[in-house]
Symmetry: C2
Subunit: 217 residues, 2 copies
DNA sequence: GGACGAAACTTTACTATGTAAAGCACTTTC
DNA sequence: GAAAGTGCTTTACATAGTAAAGTTTCGTCC
């Protein structure tokens, strides 16, 4: 079960834990896995390839959890659960999470990674669509709803984990706080301010994810 | 006016523009500035020092713009302006913006950088407080308001710039879209769902910013 | 049962990078 | 006019990614 590539990815995990994502070295990973300094390159081509495999594995795990959240019969609860999944992941798995903020380390265009990320994206989008079908914020452009909720959750988690938000909420539980504030936000969004758009209830663009090119490392 | 350190920071800018933040090399920066490969280290101590100076300069500029936005007599408009400042900055200055997402490249604890960032933070917080004093969302915990708006704007800009959001809003103007969606959000937040908290109108924690340690590079 | 060949690594070697240390020229100061 | 500082460069070295070739192991086919 634990063949070499898996062991290498696990080694990446522990190297990130001890040295941060920038401290990841093919040589360190090799040593950590009890192999030579070129073993990782042998299996994953090069350093970006190694990170790509590592991150794909992480997104696959998150995807599973999000889809599980989506199975909640209560659409609103599913929404909160999905946000909590992301937050909990950031908390429990800081190493994979840190690589999510460092896409330049990976081959962003790799199809496996792409697929794993779209899986998460569509999981979330589906939950939102279902909420709207259930009568939540019916007049709002679904794109705006996705943009608002996704931006909020993404920003909240990032700002909490990186410090600025955790300080004012000193001592309070991260995931609980996110659930509460997010729930408030969802309530508010149910009210249509001046937000009803002429082109409301537009369907999702087929594109799904689309990411900027990775820089030529 | 354009003494050597300034020229080096400008060199960083053009190196990031052509090679991305990870493509920044003391040697490249030196060459780009017409100096030796150790010139940057001579002035800024080391690579993190160079990035720190570069980022501090960027935050100072943003801070000026935010404070300017804060001078808008209309509190609500000031809020939208501040968000637009951030978005416009991400658009106009992708190189400094990219380093903002890469704090590990810098000495996060450097007091100049800290000060420049707090200046931005307090500029934004002040605008929000003023909005609430003006009667907007009066029952809501100010911390929640800051968390919600800041997380949203931060997430929106990041997701747009890095791709996922720009796709569904294909062709639409970035800053305009942010203003519109953010305005909708502010309207919604004026409605108190179940969001009124027992400890509402709590004052800001004195801490302001607080950031996780930089990894030992 | 022995030759062939592929899979799973390792060894070697080369180039790029960060950084410490010393050097060197030019200017200021006394 | 010597001493001390300023503003850089030169030199040197350890660490990194990666290409290429070598080695070992193991299954397979005749």
């Amino acid at each position: 079960m634990s063949e070499t590539p898996t062991r290498l990815l696990d080694a990446v995990d522990s190297v990130i834990a001890s040295h941060g994502p920038s401290g990841v070295t093919l040589r360190r990973v090799g040593t950590e896995a009890g192999l030579s300094h070129t073993a990782a390159a042998h299996y994953f081509n090069d350093k970006p390839g190694l990170f790509t495999a590592y991150l794909t594995r992480a997104y696959d795990q998150v995807g599973v959890h999000i889809e599980h959240a989506g199975e909640n019969a209560d659409a609103r609860a599913a929404m909160l659960d999905a946000a909590a999944v992301y937050a909990q992941f950031a908390l429990d798995s800081p190493s994979p999470f840190s690589v999510m903020q460092r896409l330049e380390l990976c081959n962003v265009d790799a199809p496996e990674l792409w697929a794993a990320r779209e899986r998460c994206y569509f999981g979330v989008a589906a939950i939102l669509v279902r909420n709207q079908e259930d009568g939540w914020a019916p007049d709002r452009d679904i794109r705006d709803l996705i943009a608002t909720t996704w931006s909020f959750v993404h920003g909240f988690v990032e700002l909490w984990v990186s410090g600025p938000l955790a300080a004012p909420y000193d001592g309070e539980d991260f995931v609980e706080t996110l659930r509460r504030v997010f729930d408030d936000l969802l309530n508010s969004l149910a009210y249509t301010g001046s937000g009803a758009r002429p082109n409301a209830k537009r369907s999702l663009s087929p594109g799904g994810l689309e990411t900027s090119q990775s820089e030529s490392a």
